[in-house]
């Protein structure tokens, strides 16, 4: 088993929490894991990405080779396309459709969505809207994780366990909100797959 995943977004959108939960779930499942993340200057509203590698064999590089990623999981539509050179031939693109516009030259939204929809292997969902509808607007990232959950080859309970471990010290309410956000994303992705 091997899953190479690029997580993408804008600084502050919560991709490191997604990474931490998948990472915890992988370790709890007895798998090897390497996860490279971005700290420092680029976190301030800039594009951020994380290379997450899971395997039942030891992993060498902390970075995913070009053309090697099985999945791109993105919490922002334009950011999902920035890392296309990493995606493998049959890889899947899973992205939030809600644009995060903090630059003057953000592309035309319809063009952007058409580029994403041109991919045969893609799942797109308005994770912000879904998170808002279930009453936990700050759990958008967990909705996206839920949408990606069926592609991870990890038992769903392990991901739930990951949320409990990562958000545990923030209290029961936060854990519940994140669990239901992940579940909501999972359901919608299942319908659309």
């Amino acid at each position: 088993m091997k899953k190479d995943i690029i997580l993408a977004g804008v600084g502050g959108q919560g991709i490191l929490s997604i990474a931490a939960i998948i990472g915890t779930a992988a370790i709890e499942s007895g798998l090897h894991l390497k996860q490279a993340e971005v700290h420092g200057m680029s976190q301030r509203g800039g594009d951020v990405q994380s290379h997450l590698r899971i395997s039942d064999k030891p992993i060498h590089s902390d970075l995913i080779p070009n053309g090697g990623a099985d999945l791109i999981i993105s919490v922002e539509p334009m950011e999902s396309l920035r890392y296309l050179p990493y995606l493998s031939e049959n890889g899947w693109l899973i992205t939030n459709t809600k644009a995060f516009v903090n630059i003057p030259n953000y592309p035309n939204y319809d063009d952007l969505m058409n580029t994403i929809r041109a991919f045969p292997n893609h799942i797109s969902l308005d994770a912000d809207e879904i998170a808002k509808n279930i009453g936990s607007p700050r759990s958008m990232n967990m909705v996206v994780l839920g949408a990606a959950s069926t592609f991870l080859d990890l038992p769903y309970e392990k991901l739930e366990e990951g949320i409990k471990i990562i958000f545990g010290r923030k209290g029961e309410k936060i854990v519940e909100a994140n669990l239901s956000a992940m579940q909501a994303g999972r359901e919608i992705a299942k319908q659309n797959k």
Partner: protein, 526 residues
């Protein structure tokens, strides 16, 4: 055994703690910051009473650590590569004083300059100081190396460098812990002159340092971290240092060359001789600058050595699997292009950041003088160079804003304004301000006080609550130390304050004071 999921930085912190660490010192700097942060929040470190505070800068950190070593305890100093320039005076001399309790100088380099002003390679400093250095290839080695580093440090009475780079510093993997060693008992150096570098002592110590180089080389030859891996195809041999080994192995299914994996310096002479005599061509993979390559290539250029110097690999920037694959001569993997419509998204000041309001007022106050008057410094506020702010003109090194403003004013340039963050002011700005006061330079020093070291992730600022006192103590006139509140509703009066201080012929300090919005929202949540 259960694995801990740790960043490379955190693995070093845990490794040092488990190897009997008594005190950690450092100044925050990407990508080194998480070493001390990990030690700071570690419950076992708390229970043991391990000392673990930030220092004013890397030099004071290095010196405090030497004091702890003098008292016989194991210590670690952490910094980013450019921080070692600040600590260089004490660092270079520490190779002569040596260590009593074990000393690890942990330096995180930033090739490709993700968050830095240059991509200098700290291994040159280790070679320069004639100090052994360790370079982990993965998180487990980052955990294991401090233990051996302390042993070597105490065996040879010499500080030891632990060098890592961004990718490992900020990448997580499972790490297996070893047993926890007891901390050293307090004991002074056997030789009471050990830390005395009067020239007559220093000369002897330097000779001694030169003499033990062959022993350090032997340690490298016998080190578990330097491995010779046999290969049947001797048309090429590969020397892979630290993290570069992983990028090699990522491509290894297609290759069967002998490999020398390097994790401990000085270079292991025996193994180097072996791979050079055994193989027709040598490819050198090292993260950072071509240190090993230059050594082996020599001035006249041994033509069988390949790497960054002959264009087999890029001369600059960090390595990755793709670059190494190309250097190995393997076919390119097919990959898609980035669609043209994807726009760049550079980092930016956060919405609501106090620096934005400070810059707006300052820029307006300077409008009549045209562009090019603001010398700035290292921190979030460096982003004020970018649109829409376009508020600053320089960024060189920690503290340079004040000193450069002084020099420009000396040249007759008016107005000369410096913008510097509170933590950077504590790090290296105070001495510059002293120069300004002594020479009565015509400068305006703007200390952007957001209560915290923000860029590196909210570490305490040493000068918190003391800035006016420091300025007054140095001799800035009280009426020219002006505190303002950088909020848009005070914009007009803030412009006025800046204009008044620009008009004053002498040293003025303006302190826009408002907490970083992340500190503010965190406090609000609590």
């Amino acid at each position: 055994m259960k694995k801990l999921l740790l960043l490379g930085d955190e693995a070093i912190g845990q490794g040092a703690l488990d190897a009997g660490l008594s005190g950690a010192y450092g100044y925050p700097g990407t990508p080194s910051t998480e070493i001390i942060e990990y030690i700071q929040r570690n419950p076992e470190a708390k229970e043991r009473g391990v000392h673990r505070t930030w220092s004013a800068n890397e030099k004071t950190a290095m010196e405090s650590a030497l004091g702890m070593s003098y008292a016989g305890k194991r210590t670690i100093i952490t910094m980013k590569h450019v921080g070692l320039n600040v600590a260089a005076d004490s660092y270079m001399n520490s190779a002569l004083t040596g260590a009593n309790g074990g000393v690890i100088v942990a330096v995180a380099d930033d090739p490709s300059m993700h968050s830095s002003q240059n991509e200098q390679d700290s291994r040159f400093y280790a070679k320069f100081a004639l100090m052994p250095a360790f370079e982990p290839s993965d998180q487990q080695e980052a955990y294991d190396m401090p233990r051996l580093a302390y042993e070597i440090s105490e065996k040879y009475h010499l500080p030891v460098m632990l060098r890592l780079t961004t990718r490992l510093a900020h990448s997580r993997a499972g790490v297996v812990r070893s047993n926890v060693l007891e901390e050293n008992k307090m004991h002074l150096p056997e030789n009471k002159d050990q830390f005395m570098l009067l020239p007559s002592f220093a000369r002897k110590k330097y000779k001694h340092l030169l003499e033990i180089q062959k022993d350090l080389e032997m340690e490298s030859e016998n080190s578990q971290f330097n491995k010779y891996i046999q290969g049947s195809d001797k048309s090429m041999g590969i020397i892979a240092c630290g993290l570069a080994y992983n990028y090699l192995m990522e491509n290894y299914n297609d290759c069967n060359y002998p490999i020398l994996k390097i994790g401990q310096y000085p270079l292991p002479r025996k193994q180097i001789e072996r791979i050079l005599s055994e193989c027709d061509e040598i490819l050198i993979l090292e993260e950072g600058m071509p240190l090993v390559e230059e050594m082996l290539k020599g001035y006249l250029g041994n033509p069988k050595i390949h790497g960054r110097l002959d264009g087999t690999l890029d001369r600059d920037g960090e390595l990755n699997p793709k670059k190494v694959r190309k250097a190995l001569g393997l076919p390119k993997l097919s990959s898609k292009d980035i669609p043209e419509l994807v726009a760049g998204r550079p980092p930016a000041l956060c919405v609501g950041c106090p620096h934005t309001d400070s810059y707006k007022s300052l820029t307006e106050a300077l409008e009549e003088y045209g562009k090019g008057h603001v010398f700035s410094d290292i921190g979030c506020y460096t982003l004020g160079y970018l649109p829409p702010h376009n508020a600053i003109d320089t960024c060189v090194d920690m503290g340079a804003s004040i000193s450069m403003a002084i020099g420009a004013a000396d040249a007759g340039y008016f107005p000369a304004v410096a913008t510097i963050g509170d933590s950077t002011f504590g790090h290296s700005g105070i001495t510059g301000l002293l120069d300004a006061v002594v020479h009565r330079s015509n400068v305006v020093i703007v200390i952007l006080d957001n209560d915290i070291t923000a860029m590196t992730g909210m570490q305490d600022s040493q000068v918190n609550g003391r800035i006016e006192q420091i300025c007054e103590g140095i001799g800035v006139e009280k009426e020219h130390i002006r505190v303002i509140n950088p909020l848009s509703k005070y914009h007009e009066e803030n412009v006025k304050v800046f204009k008044e201080e620009i008009a004053y012929n002498g040293v003025s300090v303006v302190i826009p004071r408002r907490p970083c919005i992340h500190v503010y929202s965190k406090k609000k949540r609590q």
